[in-house]
Symmetry: C2
Subunit: 401 residues, 2 copies
């Protein structure tokens, strides 16, 4: 397997690092990004090469950081469905609305992508123990992939995280802890533990490879649209790694000449109960501030201060995108609308995009015929509490009506 990994680079101070040692943050405390030998990739890697490859994210292996394929830890993740939403689109005045459905992936959320690539690379770098804070789904994914890799994992999540993610972490054999607080509290506990025990810190953006997994959403969208990118991509933004990743993917595709100048306008969608990126964008700032008393039904995006906030904001600014906050009541209505109209039972985070798309259409920010993608980050199956149900109980001799 030819590999094109070149170096790690700090996007803030531009220090570079040799990639085959374990690295976390830059000396300036910013996350590191992975760089490849794009000239060589451009020369060697052709769209036609994809034809006979498996429908997983590993089809883009030239743009991924694993040096030896024996280190690939996979559960078959990637190439998730891109679904047209004709009725849901019509309802909000959009004639080309799509759902990229990350519910159809191992562990049921897009976190599998970051975990697959992150854990593979951790294995390649000799990691034996990792630790991370999580709002639930990332923990489920990393515990699962770590189990497959034979890596021990410590996972800390808020006690309010989705219940099923506890099961997911526990059955994988990870060490699970709850915290009476938010993911930021869990992060501090993990920070102290990795410092004390020398474990690999797999916190969001504290290792450079999770982004590489997430960026494959951007690669797939480009391929699924026939290398003609859509006009707008809406993304539910907590840590924002997916948005950073999609932006990075599209820039890399430009670099190797697979797509043209056009970029989709990237939209960061947050909940009104936790909207630090939206506030920063409205104030035209380069970074966000800690959001006090964060709370939303879209639990996965309850991130009061994201380490990569400046990269999220850069992606928005550079693509003429925007940031928008929506409220919990509308999120739950949107979740039901998408299930009833389109058969898409998605997570509240994903449903938030639909509310945002409607508002941006009403404001004229999105045109009626533009190609618009809602990036759904996970299956609704992991969020039973968002659906109220009280069905009648029949005895065997009863009739339906």
């Amino acid at each position: 397997m030819q590999n094109y990994l070149s170096h790690l680079e700090c996007p803030k101070c531009h220090l570079t690092f040799e990639p085959d040692a374990q690295h976390h943050l830059c000396e300036c405390a910013a996350p590191l990004l992975v760089r490849y030998d794009y000239e060589a990739i451009k020369a060697d890697f052709k769209k036609e090469d994809l034809v006979n490859r498996e429908p997983s994210l590993w089809r883009y292996r030239e743009l991924l950081p694993i040096r030896d394929e024996k280190n690939i830890v996979t559960l078959g993740e990637g190439m998730t469905p891109l679904l047209p939403l004709p009725l849901a689109g019509k309802k909000i005045g959009l004639s080309n609305l799509y759902l990229k459905d990350e519910g159809v992936i191992p562990t049921g959320t897009f976190k599998a992508r970051g975990a697959a690539v992150g854990v593979s690379r951790a294995k390649e770098l000799g990691v034996e123990v990792l630790a991370m804070p999580t709002n639930g789904n990332a923990g489920g994914a990393w515990a699962t992939y770590a189990a497959r890799a034979g890596i021990k994992s410590y996972i800390v999540m808020p006690k309010d995280a989705p219940m099923i993610t506890r099961n997911e972490v526990a059955i994988a054999g990870a060490e699970l802890y709850l915290v009476d607080g938010l993911i930021s509290d869990a992060g501090k506990i993990v920070g102290r533990a990795v410092a004390k025990h020398g474990w690999y810190d797999a916190s969001t953006l504290k290792e450079p490879y999770r982004i590489e997994g997430k960026k494959t959403m951007g690669l797939e969208l480009a391929e699924q649209f026939g290398w003609d990118v859509p006009d707008v991509i809406l993304y539910p933004t907590g840590g924002g790694v997916g948005l950073i990743g999609i932006y990075k993917a599209l820039r890399e595709l430009q670099e190797i000449g697979w797509i043209g100048e056009k970029m989709p306008r990237l939209v960061a969608v947050q909940a009104t109960g936790c909207a630090p990126i939206v506030k920063a964008w409205e104030e035209k700032k380069a970074a966000s501030e800690f959001w006090e008393n964060a709370s939303t039904v879209a639990f996965g995006i309850t991130v009061p201060k994201a380490l990569g906030d400046f990269l999220v904001l850069e992606a928005i600014y550079k693509t003429n995108g925007c940031a928008i906050a929506v409220n919990d009541d509308e999120i739950l209505v949107a979740q039901r609308d998408l299930a009833t109209l389109e058969g898409a039972f998605i997570c509240p985070e994903g449903a938030a995009n639909y509310v945002a798309a409607r508002q941006l259409r009403e404001q004229g920010w999105i045109g009626a015929d533009e190609k618009v993608v809602l990036l759904n980050t996970g299956t609704g199956l992991k969020y039973p509490d968002t659906v109220q149900v009280d069905p009648p109980l029949l005895q065997p001799e009863d009739d339906l009506e």
Copy 2:
């Protein structure tokens, strides 16, 4: 879109039926099977045609019953991962053990396949209302696909069915009823309702198209193994439609010349608390008897008497397969082993296969180097109650250890 649908045929009395009207059971009360013009398919359809097709079950459209592609109702289902299980295999003395993972599919279970094809064909036949009994997952899938098709659905499930399937049915806008009994009781209620209201009866095997969706598991396995079929396929058997479907698929692939004479030995795996097929197989009978007081943690296979039992048994006999029952305690241990060793958090029904594979290896029925596939029918995410978890609760100032 060229279509090769020929007729419907009763596998018991061999009556044939014109396929473009709504049909349910044969006059002799047996389920009907779909037949195609295999000579024409053999002439027109080549393995190379698959190369540029989407990784969904619709890639095999020549072997599917939809006449007009505008009737296809899809959420991107199919081409699920085939995963090697090296560590779990080693533990039970099998060097070529695989998992076909139907957890990575819309709605999280293999029921999506039957629903996608069944609902598509129902739409094509003008159905406006359907009704069905279910152990949960089929109801979730059919309610979901019916919603996408604009078909109204009535779903009746035992009150003990997995909780999340209630949410799934309800959010899709279906009419949901619980019954204080088993799926057989739900079936009687549905039977009375369809007779009274003239609704389309979507009960297992009471319409001929669900099998066609399920059979795509067999088509995919053949393609994923490079058209060289594995030696043994283990399948958790309730209604048994998947097993019937896989057998039908492989026979059809032989018919069109895509695979040779060799067939995998098909194994029906049941729980000791509900094992009517196993009992019938041990007694060398052609059909099963109603299993009294059926109960198992693998709820999806709690089917006391399957309408297609004779087809399941035929598939086993004709392939020199077998039927085997495993107990609930071992199923739960197997579920944990697969998650911990391989990162595969699967449903208890799927985990039952692993217990069965171990026992068949111990008996020498499976050879150490044979290629063995465990067909996992769904994600463990839908079964939180099968995992016990009691993690420590930390305060933000606490340390991990």
